[in-house]
């Protein structure tokens, strides 16, 4: 199911494919589901009236591109949606618009580059999408300004339990929430599958306002830095060492008590865990924690290599461990 979720195209503001997929999987629980005006999919499960509510959130959207103009020669200019490193864009395949028209991000070949061009990464202005159009008219028949483009990357298993694909940030989180909901083992909690996280955690702000939780957990994918000869002091998370518990990021300070609860949950579930040894980056936990009168909020994230690129790598066992850990945490909070 991770592959199915990751393959869906859902750049920020255009999450409907992901939302429909999730709604279909949760169809047997349709009385618990609502969709708000921003497009957040909310599932309210089983809490008695006036009892403190627990909110789990995972965002449906992924980073991608938006078509900004069509050039005379039929090539498409674009802007990034969300945080993208230009250097990963060159020569990558994309799918454009609602029908998923194939295209590729074109680059000047090395033969034609001046020496100084070779020494620098491609500037955003120099990049374009080539989708095989003759000219502007030809392109205009199939592409409109404002159309989204998503990375064209089909998820596959590598080795034993490693997966390569796009959008694990945060379809991994969506999968974790979905599994917890499908288990349906009597746990009361609210799940928010949110929109527009990558452009400023917008959906979660509205979802938290609606759900009014007492306590919340953002379930995310986070950068793993275990690939190069990184000094151990600079490693943020490691693949395969279990879900990462944050103590602080740019948007939230996780309370000592909540970190302790999560550590205890992992230990009692018998799964490995690690701390996210990095304080940068933002998550939905920020806006959730500041909703209304304030909400105690923590973050659990699955380590992911090459995050925000068309080809990220994630380990299935970290996802499994996260499900177990969060389930145990929910049980302790019932």
């Amino acid at each position: 199911m991770l592959a199915e979720l990751a393959n869906l195209r859902g750049v920020s503001g255009n999450e409907s494919a992901v939302r429909s997929f999730l709604a279909e999987k949760l169809d047997q629980f349709r009385t618990e589901i609502s969709i708000d005006t921003m497009g957040n999919l909310l599932v309210r499960r089983g809490a008695k009236k006036n009892s403190p509510r627990i909110m789990l959130s995972a965002h449906m959207d992924e980073i991608g591109l938006m078509i900004m103009s069509i050039q005379k020669n039929g090539l498409l200019k674009f802007k990034p949606v969300g945080g993208i490193d230009n250097r990963v864009l060159a020569a990558k395949r994309v799918r454009i618009g609602p029908d998923g028209l194939p295209g590729v991000i074109g680059v000047k070949p090395i033969h034609l580059q001046k020496k100084e061009e070779q020494e620098k990464p491609f500037a955003e202005e120099s990049l374009f999408i080539d989708a095989g159009f003759k000219d502007k008219d030809d392109a205009g028949k199939q592409v409109r300004v404002g159309d989204y483009a998503a990375f064209d990357s089909v998820c596959e298993e590598l080795g034993d339990g490693f997966y390569r694909g796009k959008a694990f940030d945060d379809r991994a989180g969506c999968l974790i929430l979905l599994e917890l909901l499908l288990e349906n083992d009597g746990l009361a909690f609210d799940a928010a599958f949110t929109v527009q996280e990558e452009v400023g955690t917008r959906g979660a702000a509205v979802a938290a306002y609606t759900l009014q939780p007492k306590v919340a957990l953002a379930v995310e994918a986070t950068a793993a830095s275990d690939t190069t000869e990184t000094e151990s002091s600079a490693v943020s998370t490691v693949l395969g060492a279990g879900p990462a518990i944050s103590f602080m990021d740019r948007t939230v300070m996780v309370s000592r008590e909540m970190r302790k609860e999560l550590v205890e949950a992992a230990e009692s579930a018998g799964v490995p865990y690690q701390f996210r040894r990095f304080t940068g980056g933002g998550t939905e936990a920020g806006v959730i924690s500041l909703s209304r009168e304030g909400v105690k909020t923590a973050v659990v994230a699955v380590p992911c290599r090459y995050i925000h690129s068309p080809h990220s790598i994630i380990q299935e066992k970290d996802i499994r461990a996260a499900v177990k850990m969060i389930r145990t945490w929910l049980e302790s909070r019932q």
Partner: protein, 338 residues
């Protein structure tokens, strides 16, 4: 007052770990309030009942600090900032954890001072391996600067965390000396996580729904050698804030403040702060908007281990705030632009 400032500035309380400060404050104001409670983020609400309008007065409990991100094989700790901390101010400084564990900061070999980034700094707590260090400190533990409070000859105070424990001390002093009856309801909020983006004040204002907001905090000064131009000096009175990067203080609130100061002959300075924010920034955009202002205590060397204020500014700030709360504030209807 001096004793209160000493107690509060020496207490441990980096953003997110304000409990020591909170307990101290509760102790210091015992029996002087109508109601007292905490919210889920740790804000402390101290209420004095009264008729409408409702005033919220906020000072933040948290201070800047660091958080441990890594413990290496030789027992050295790696750090990340909590709030606006400059790595250049840390080498040679002592840091202290909640339970008293103390260490000193130093740096890896560098060629030039400007290469000093967070990744070059480490904290030595006197352990020789990861196991030893791990028994004393965990990843994710915050620490504060470790410096005692000092009274300087001539009446200036020097301490870490003057920002904003001196504001907390002003509130404590005012709470303890207000008359039995007040012309309006007042909620004193000792807020959390101001240094991370005015977080506590935001949820506190949502909860209390005040008609007016006032923050009591420190502000920068322009009276040191070749300082950035700023018309605020130590010893010339607390300020009536005009603006900072988080708020344009409401004209009606400023008017109340200036009238009060002039009527009671309290010296004050007008404060235009180019960079920096305070709780008023979060309060004034809560819900439907809250007319807000701020009293600041001029402070040198803000966000270092030796923040300096003048005792006369502090005492005048207490008098100023007290007079402001005894004053009858306009009803909400009168203040309505519509």
């Amino acid at each position: 007052m001096e004793e209160t400032i000493k107690l509060l500035t020496e207490a441990f309380g980096p953003s997110g770990e304000e409990e020591t400060v909170r307990s101290l404050i509760k102790e210091l104001i015992k029996g002087k309030v109508d109601r007292i409670f905490e919210d889920d983020l740790g804000n402390l609400f101290v209420l004095r009942d009264g008729p409408s309008p409702k005033l919220m007065v906020s000072a933040h409990m948290d201070e800047i600090g660091i958080i441990v991100t890594h413990i290496d094989d030789n027992g050295f700790l790696r750090l990340a900032p909590v709030g606006g901390v400059s790595p250049h101010l840390l080498p040679g400084q002592r840091l202290r954890f909640r339970d008293g564990v103390t260490g000193t900061v130093y740096y890896e070999k560098i060629k030039e001072w400007k290469e000093l980034e967070w990744s070059k700094l480490y904290l030595d707590i006197g352990q020789s391996d990861a196991e030893g260090a791990g028994r004393m400190v965990s990843i994710g533990d915050p620490a504060c600067l470790d410096q005692p409070f000092k009274v300087l000859q001539g009446g200036r105070y020097m301490a870490k965390a003057m920002d904003d424990r001196v504001g907390c001390a002003v509130l404590v002093e005012v709470i303890n000396s207000l008359p039995e009856q007040l012309p309006q309801a007042v909620c004193f909020v000792f807020s959390v996580q101001e240094e991370l983006g005015l977080r506590g004040a935001r949820t506190a204002a949502y909860r209390y729904e005040p008609d007016y907001g006032l923050a009591v905090d420190v502000t920068l000064v322009g009276d040191t050698p070749k300082a950035q131009t700023m018309a605020v000096s130590l010893g010339r009175g607390p300020t009536v804030k005009v603006k900072d990067s988080s708020v344009f203080c409401h004209p009606l609130v400023r008017k109340q403040m200036i009238e009060t100061a002039e009527k009671h002959e309290i010296p004050y300075q007008l404060e235009v702060l180019e960079r920096g924010g305070t709780d008023a920034g979060a309060i004034h955009i809560s819900r439907e908007g809250v007319p807000s202002g701020a009293i600041s205590i001029p402070c040198r060397y803000v966000h270092t281990s030796s923040e300096m204020v003048d005792s006369s500014d502090v005492n005048y700030a207490v008098a100023f705030l007290k007079k402001l709360l005894i004053r009858q504030w306009p009803s909400v209807e009168e203040n309505n632009y519509g």
